[in-house]
């Protein structure tokens, strides 16, 4: 069995499913390693938790409602984390956006902890 190359989410590490299986279109996935801060010597350091951002250029209300069912608890996500597109599983906190107009939609999974 090969390694999955699709993002998955779930309410437990062992029960993650792909967006396709939920009937949700595939989002654009990006990984944010943390906050960039410039120090007084001119260099930049990264601090804080890592996040995965899922962007939908277009999403339906029906898809949003399916995603909403994951809101509020620890969410597990399987996603690529680097340029080599190595996939890993994380526990996370799903940050629900203020704006859900069904056109552009973004979900942020913060506090990533590898599981």
């Amino acid at each position: 069995m090969g390694v999955s190359r699709q993002c998955m989410i779930g309410t437990s590490a062992g029960a993650m499913v792909t967006f396709a299986s939920l009937g949700i279109s595939a989002p654009l996935v990006s990984f944010d390693a943390g906050e960039q801060v410039q120090t007084s010597d001119g260099n930049y350091i990264t601090r804080g938790f890592s996040s995965i951002i899922l962007d939908w250029a277009s999403i339906t209300q029906e898809e949003i409602e399916k995603l909403r069912s994951y809101r509020g608890a620890t969410v597990y996500i399987y996603a690529p984390v680097d340029v080599a597109r190595a996939y890993k599983s994380f526990s996370s906190i799903m940050v629900w956006p203020k704006r859900e107009d069904g056109i552009k939609f973004q979900l942020k999974y913060t506090h990533l902890v590898a599981v």
Binding site: G34, I45, F49, S50
Partner: protein
Amino acid sequence: MTTPLTGATLTAERAQRRWSTYHIAISVPNVVFTARINHVFQSLDNQSQMEWDGGTGTYTNVKAGMSCRIGSAAGLSDIGIVRVRKDLGASTFYFGQVSGMLFADNQYLTFTDDAGLFAKLPTKTGDIEEMDTDLSFDGNSFALMVGAGPAGVTLELSGATVSYTPPYKGYSPIGATLASCVWTATGTSATSGLTTTTPVFTWNAVGEYYIRGTFTDSVGAVTNISRKVFVRLASDAAVSIKEITGDIDSGGFTARIEGYTGVGISALQDRALCVIWRKDYSGTARAASYGPYAGATATRFVGWLNGQSLTIDPDTGSASFTIDGPAAWLDRIYGAPMYRQDTSSTATAWHHIPTMTTDKALYCLAKWYSTLADICDVTLTGDATRIYTANVNSGSLLSQINGLAGEKLKARICFDELGCGFVSVEPSLRTSAGKAANTVLFDIASSDLSEQLDIDRVTVAKSSQVEISGSTFDGTTELQIYSREPGNTPAQYGSPDAPTSTLAFASQAVCNQMAGDLRADANREYRSVSAKLYWANDYAGWAMAHGYIVRMSMAATATPRGITWTSKRFFILSVGLEYDAKTGAESTALELAEETTGNPGIYYIPPTVSDEAGNYDNPPFDSPPAIVPPGTDWFPEVEPPVIPGTGACPSDAGANLFKITFSPSTLTGAGGVLSSKSFCPCQLRPATFTNGPTVLELELGLEGDMTYTPTMSDRLAVYAIDALGNHVFTGSIDSTAAPDVCAGCYIFVTFAPIAPMDVAGFEIVLTAGGGYAYTSGSVIATGTVAANDATGDVVTLVPGSYYSVEDDRSIWNSGIGPRQGVRIRDESSLYNESGASFAIRNYYQATGATRHVTVNDNNYGDNTGSSGWILREASARGSRKIIIYSSILNNVCAVSA
């Protein structure tokens, strides 16, 4: 000590991608026992014990230090909360003394296993003192003060069990040591080492647990302490920490929680013990936590909920509140006045402390006037300077501790984030040894800073002169000493200041250094430097409480004013732990102050406040006149030299010399001043020392009969004296040289004790007496006169001039026996003396021009024989007098105490 923030720990703390989540444990204390009041109160004043009945549970589980809620219904505390001051009796409940609490028969008593900060109130009936209402002075009165780590810690139950070993440290004011100990804890699944100082408590379930230690010292005194342990799960809800801040002025830390929804609001009771803890991560992996307390590194803050600060959001129902550390609570609690006095013998009452130091008096405040030492760690200064008295006025417990520590040592207490207190002297005011021994926590580099430094720089001095005073106490005499820095002339800029007059000093040298250090501190160039670290420094608050040092090396380009620092030393004024919930990152805001060291001041004499009649002038002054030591009358108006040194006086101590000043400078033997003193605290050196003994070199003018020797030592003595002016050592006056006349000659006075000897100064004492003297000059005429020649040989003199006439040691007979000597028959002798070449020499001031030399016997008729004579010019040398032109003190050491 060695800094814990080094190597791998420092690297991990600085690591990128580090973040945290915060959690909180709020005490809901366990009910140990319940009962009802079985007591009819005749008065509600000064209540400290009552009878109880109707108990549920095991009453012997109620231990001293626990709390009791008293309510009108079961479980309530609407009547009040009191401290259990003794283990609960079979029918009697002893509690911390209160007045005005509306006790009534049949009210409900709920005993819980929480131990809070309370005052312990002493009582005094007649001459009988008792602590904590009714504890008589006994062998338990100097029991150990035991530290066992933070008042509460949180352990994360990530596996089947979790274990904790509280630290141990003990302080005894009488030097006792720990003899045995017994630990107990509630809810444990396993324990080991319960009779050692490293017990292991293991729990396998979430809960709130109570640890108690009983310690017996080497003299049989017993101490009890208690701590709380919260066992929690990793899945505990995170909380939003707005800030955790602390500063040395307020004495500790507070934390602000916002949006808390973890438990019902009813659980947020005023003064509930709260422990903030955290989980640390590095990148996407769980990481170790760091901190100064082993086993409690996840614990981030310990305090008690400030009920006044509690607010509830009406929309969300979430709570926001402040948690205050021990300092804030101590500042709200009344403390009774305390008086302690040194004793050199065994203490027999509460107010006696053997060989008292400031630490020992502070011990009494922490252990016997409050529960502070029962539930929190308190580390004292370690200063061993003996003090005679410790007076503490009533006030808040915090002000009492800081008042006493500040008054004696310029110290104060500061609690770290975990509520452990440290009484310490500000780093700039520590002795040179204290500064050298101070721990450097870590070195800040520009790569640590997420914001540019904010530097408050002062380039014009604020203090031009500092005058301080304090006391030294050797177990017998308490002596006030003074110092002024930079000297009698203030510096050009700034105002003079007299910041303290109550400090305890080990020596004048310490006093002098403190004066200089206080001025240097007041004038520190970098008063405040704000530095923000991008990372969470888990040791900063602990280091601030200790007064530890941080160093900073900065290139000119890294500071806003182009300042370059290389390992510049600072101490920490405040710490702000800033948590950004949006990133999970924590940064550390530090406010730093430059560590300074001043030059030693000089001894000075404070002015005496008096009216025109020389009496103390009370009005319009509100305070009594300054207390000056006995012997003040001998203080000269000129300050003594500063003799460098630590008080050590080794046998190979280098040669040195100091100019000292005697006052008054002229002593007159006839009806004048006979004593001149010089204040110069120093140690005399023995003759066996490499560079010889102490020698006082006096340049004197001698008048009257103060010929250099051999009469010198008959009429002059030089002593070393103590602070009261007593003669403690007699100097040996050198008589090897013997000029007959001295109008600016030197004498050497040797002080050679058998061992180095502290003295306060020197005294020159002239023997009383007129002591007129004259000096013979050139020969005017000579001759031989018959002893029976009543007319004598004629000589011509100048009236008003002085002359002497002497015999040639011829022996003539007066008719009744052999005699010697001649005279000027017509004049009265002013003074006579004997010598090697003559039997007697008489001095005269001529009153006429033609005079006659005869033998000195009016009955010339029966005389036989003759005598040669010599007439000389002479000059008057006046009455007995010495003039002290200068004085040089050679080969001394700085005073040892």
